[in-house]
Amino acid sequence: MERTTVLGRLTWRVGQVVKTKAETARAKSLVLEFPDWPGHRAGQHVDIRLTAEDGYQAVRSYSIASPPDDRQVTVTIERLEYGEVSPYLVDEIQAGDPLEVRGPIGGYFVWETALGGPLFLVGGGSGIVPLMAMIQHRVARANDARIRLLYSARSLEDVIYRTELEGLAKRSGIEVIYTYTRSQPPGWTGYQRRIDQAMLGEVALAREEHPLIYICGPTPLAEGASNGLVALGYEPARIRIERFGPSGR
């Protein structure tokens, strides 16, 4: 089933948190199981709903980190300091808790093997989450699409999926380039600034390869990276963007 898509009514489903994993000091992955998950495509997101005892509810959207090939559904959530929902999902919820989820949602910021490659992925902070689903999908399908990822994080400690990305780079040839914008590990010789046009000119897959480009991150990063790539001559129609923040509280 290459195309598991949102065709029918999207209902609220109750899943169970079967595992939690701290990814960084601020980000946590929740592994969810559903009796009736309809399937999703890499890059899609879900709505998560919390309900207080008096019936008050709050809903926010979170990207799916796991590929469609997994039986479980993983979401990775970054705690926003003044957030209403994310602090609960990062700090309070525990394995065994039920969770109400609606999805999958979104039909444009998705990659499936039929779309081909190569892929140039640009992630900022927790913007790595839907890109990870794409990377893992390509690996799970033993697809040969070349993938290069440019990942902007504040520091090494803020890199989500650091170990997994190392493994994917070694075993599956995923090319990962980091830029650390606030502090750098000792001896770091790589990029240490926000993504800009010059950096994109150096690391983006060549225009002649007609890469399919996915950008996910805070609005300034998404605007900067996409404007930079368009200025460098990349085709706007092959650039797909998921922006978040500064709201999302």
Binding site: R9, L10, A52, S61, G106, N227, A237
Partner: protein, 203 residues
């Protein structure tokens, strides 16, 4: 709705609505102005910008940027609601009413597709666009509309979820048959009434 599932230990942060105001179901209030769009921000020079009304009309109409600026200008103060759950109260826009643009246009159409630079489209019933319900807005908070918010001009249809208010809009096509737009073919509701929480297909 089913029996409620209580999120153990979740208290939430209730927002006191402003006087006489309510949030549509499932929305929360923001003070800033989030940006959401699916592709790169187009930057069309104003010298190349035109606005067109075409489709099932006796005669298409077209304005240059200068001509468009000369049309009667309205100031609109309104709440806006995004399908990604945020709402913003009391936003202030300036632009041209669709009533003004459709004045004198003879049509039997019942639907509109708004089309934009970059290929984005959004479909709406014609009756949701007339009688002071919709505008082409080119200023926000007294300043020219910024590109990432849809500048130089965007559609403004505040009574529907905000993806209907197409950014970078360049024209309206009047149609006899409904023609679902960019998000409407990708799982989002065809009409998008925030008060009925019509977010996705089947809502």
């Amino acid at each position: 709705m089913n029996a409620r599932l209580i999120s153990r230990g979740f208290h939430g942060r209730r927002q006191e609505p402003a006087e006489g105001k309510n949030l549509p179901p499932g929305q929360y209030l923001v003070e800033d102005f989030p940006v959401l769009s699916a592709g790169p921000t187009p930057h069309t020079p104003l010298a190349n910008w035109t606005f067109t009304i075409d489709g099932e009309v006796d005669e298409p109409k077209r304005w240059t940027w200068e001509e468009f600026q000369a049309l009667p200008r309205e100031t609109i103060t309104t709440d806006i609601h995004c399908v990604t759950h945020w709402s913003k109260f009391g936003t202030v826009w300036e632009g041209v009413s669709i009533d003004t643009l459709l004045d004198g246009v003879e049509t039997a159409a019942s639907y509109i597709v708004a089309y934009s630079d970059g290929g984005y489209t959004a479909n709406l019933p014609l009756e949701d666009m007339t009688d002071g319900q919709a505008w082409i807005a080119y200023a926000f908070d007294g300043e020219p509309l910024e590109p990432e918010h849809g500048g130089p001009a965007r559609l403004l249809v505040p009574h529907l979820y905000f993806w209907k208010s197409a950014k970078w809009v360049r024209g309206l096509r009047l149609l006899g048959e409904d023609e679902p737009g960019f998000w409407e073919v990708r799982g989002y509701h065809n009409y998008g009434d925030p008060w009925k929480e019509q977010r996705y297909w089947g809502d």
